[in-house]
């Protein structure tokens, strides 16, 4: 069997006395679409932040393609091909939409910290960014400051920035949070389109999105994964029903 795209072993995180993540083992295969669900306060965002080194873990390891990420800074992890979005929109609001995407292309295209290249004259950057904009349907907004976009557009832009670099592991933190139904559908389609052939890990509340997108689902409750499996299996799991899903599903109807 090939090495998993992302592998977590015994991951724990405490803030002071409170143990938020209480030993997580999880393995996500290549090109798998994996959703992490769970009630509020279960530690989903914390888990994301541990994987991307926003916080250091208390114990345990994170491996990307079999390589340990311990001690690496976020930017180093990103360079290894893991890219993420944020729960709260996290873009460069003063820059134009186009520039937002272009910034995401700089490192992956090998421009690094160079000061002898002029970005405006680089066709690969311009075309690459425009291609992404086309994918996320923001080409018309290309030259507007990103801060002036609508919320849904900003979320789309955020996804665009996240995937622009061509990372093969994409992590999306609640991509549809706070959206209307039509907007949600739009974003779901977008995610399907842009993560084609890539590993996707997402935290999501909207069950329709989760079941529509995910190959596998993990249920996180109080810092522990209580179930992992195919959507149908998870839906059927009595513990999940009890802990979370039942209540959530009922609330949906």
């Amino acid at each position: 069997m090939s090495t998993p795209a992302l592998e977590l072993t015994g991951l724990k995180k405490s803030f002071g006395k409170a143990e938020i993540i209480r030993g997580i083992d999880l393995s996500i295969g290549k090109a798998e679409r994996h959703a992490i669900i769970g009630p509020n306060g279960a530690g989903k965002s914390t888990l994301f932040n541990l994987i991307t080194a926003r916080f250091p873990p208390t114990s345990g390891t994170v491996k990307l393609h079999g390589e340990s990420l311990a001690g690496l800074e976020p930017f180093q992890i990103n360079r290894k091909g893991l890219s993420r979005s944020f729960q709260i929109t996290n873009i460069f609001p003063k820059m134009t939409v186009f520039e937002n995407v272009r910034c995401a292309l700089l490192w992956p295209q090998g421009y690094k910290y160079s000061f002898w290249n002029l970005v405006n004259y680089k066709r690969d950057l311009t075309e690459g960014a425009d291609a992404i904009l086309e994918q996320i349907n923001l080409l018309e907004r290309r030259d507007l400051p990103a801060g002036t976009l609508s919320y849904a557009e900003q979320r789309a832009l955020e996804i665009g920035i996240t995937i622009a670099g061509g990372a093969n592991v994409i992590m999306l933190d609640e991509p549809t949070a706070g959206m209307s139904n039509t907007e949600t559908d739009y974003i779901t389609d977008l995610i399907l389109k842009v993560t084609e052939g890539k590993t996707l890990i997402m935290v999501e509340h909207d069950m329709s999105v989760v079941f529509g997108l995910a190959d596998r689902i993990s249920v996180l409750v109080y810092g522990e994964i209580i179930a992992t499996g195919k959507p149908a299996d998870v839906r059927a799991d009595p513990r999940v029903q009890e802990a979370y899903l039942g209540a959530a599903l009922e609330a949906e109807h």
């Binding site: 976020p74 930017f75 910034c103 690094k112 910290y113 801060g147 002036t148 670099g165």
Partner: protein, 438 residues
């Protein structure tokens, strides 16, 4: 509340975008021509001296804005890098053999390199954080080096500084830079080159990422860039151009002293940059020109120049946080819409009386000052071409009436100006910067 001294995107000042101009050669050509023609208009040596001072400040302020405007780093000790570069140049000037083999126009490069070296040393620990921590480290380092300048006499020359003679350099195509006009062209050349290079820097990957890190360091990290290294590179580049400014200073004045390093100079460059406007590449240029005129020309006219400068500065921060450049640029949409003409009359109606009122106010201030501080027998003073006795009531009444009437008319016509302004701006959706006040 966060410790981050980065500004919030939703706020008006943020709507200004550094370097939103597209690359075009035209402004640079115009700038070059202006630089070349200026000495034909202002011929005297003192005008040249003042213009040299302006251009040096322009380079320094642009370098400073690489940090503040483009990188979001607030430095309270940036004079250090210009100063160190300048001192290094001064020492090179005094190394007679080496200097005699070097044409003078090359000297600022050395200033730049030393400024850059200094910036690399300090940047290695100060750029880890932006915000308050960076600002306070810059203040501390600035104070330390300023204090060192009087203690470490070998390099900084103590209170008297280090002086030299630029004419001992290798003649540059027969030119020994004896006259101010020679130095003027040298300075102008460097100002143009530095400004172009700094502008191009903002178009490079690391320059673009400086903006990204300023706005959102965390996001930048998740795009593969280390915020710290991006800051470090900005800081280093800024140190280089500050050093170039220091080198130009050395050539111009042939002396460097403690004042080139001290916190007052660092503060001045902050004021200059902010006055001009940090949001636009050309903002600091306007700021440098305005401030130098204020400092050297207004101070010839009135002892209270610093008072007026302070008022102007506070007014800028309060009402036009985009600075003078922001004030100019908020008219761009109006011009684009072709409504500029509709603003001329309302402007005249409001701003002219306002200006007269303000001049009246300035006269009152001057008179008060004179009344309070002049010698007892010296009752006469001259304000605006008129000489009168401040101990009689009439001048006070006149100045008071002028002030009241001027400001009164301005106040009365202000609403119609506001209307005209919004009318001029309404047309298809206007999303561009409108500045702080209308």
């Amino acid at each position: 509340m966060t410790d981050q001294i980065t500004t919030d995107p939703s706020k008006p000042s943020q709507r200004m975008r550094a370097g939103s101009m597209t690359i075009t050669v035209l402004p640079w050509v115009a700038g070059a021509i202006a630089l070349a023609v200026m000495p034909a208009i202002f011929t005297s040596n003192s005008a040249l001296t003042i213009m040299n001072q302006m251009w040096i400040t322009v380079v320094f302020a642009l370098a400073y804005n690489m940090l503040l405007g483009q990188g979001g780093m607030l430095s309270f000790g940036h004079a250090v890098y210009a100063g160190v570069g300048g001192f290094a140049c001064m020492h090179i000037m005094n190394m007679s053999d080496f200097f005699a083999a070097m044409p003078l126009p090359v000297l600022p490069i050395f200033g730049g390199l030393f400024g850059m070296g200094m910036a690399m040393i300090v940047g290695s620990f100060s750029t880890r954080n932006a915000g308050t921590v960076f600002a306070m480290i810059s203040l501390g380092v600035g104070e330390l080096i300023a204090a060192c300048s009087v203690i470490i006499v070998a390099f900084f020359g103590g209170e008297e500084g280090i002086s030299g003679d630029r004419t001992y350099a290798m003649p540059f195509f027969g030119n020994e830079f004896l006259q101010q006009i020679d130095v003027y062209y040298l300075t102008s050349f460097w100002v143009l080159v530095s400004a172009i290079l700094m502008y191009l820097w903002s178009r490079t990957p690391v320059g673009r990422m400086a903006n990204a890190v300023r706005d959102n360091p965390e996001r930048a990290e998740f795009l593969g860039y280390s915020a710290r290294w991006v800051r470090f590179y900005s800081f280093t580049a800024s140190g280089f151009f500050a050093g170039v400014a220091g080198g130009l200073f050395a050539i111009n004045y042939e002396i460097l002293t403690e004042e080139n390093l001290n916190t007052a100079s660092s503060g001045v460059i902050l004021l200059v940059t902010f006055l001009g406007g940090v949001g636009f590449f050309f903002g600091p240029i306007i700021g440098a020109i305005a401030f130098t005129l204020l400092q050297t020309v207004l101070s010839l006219q009135t002892e209270l120049w610093a008072f007026y400068a302070g008022v102007l500065f506070l007014a800028t921060v309060m009402f036009f946080p985009g600075g003078l450049a922001g004030l100019l640029m908020m008219h761009v949409p109006v011009f684009k819409l072709g409504h500029a003409r509709s603003l001329v009359m309302p402007y005249l109606k409001t701003l002219l009386p306002a200006a007269i009122g303000l001049l009246g106010l300035a006269a009152l201030v001057e008179m008060t000052f004179h009344f309070r501080h002049a010698a007892l027998g010296d009752d006469e003073m001259t304000v605006f071409w008129t000489t009168f006795d401040t101990h009689t009531i009439l001048p006070w009444i006149i100045a008071g009436v002028v002030t009241l009437v001027g400001l009164g008319i301005a106040r009365a016509t202000a609403p119609s100006l506001k209307e005209a302004w919004s009318a001029a701006n309404t047309a298809p959706p206007v999303t561009t910067a409108k500045g702080g006040a209308a």
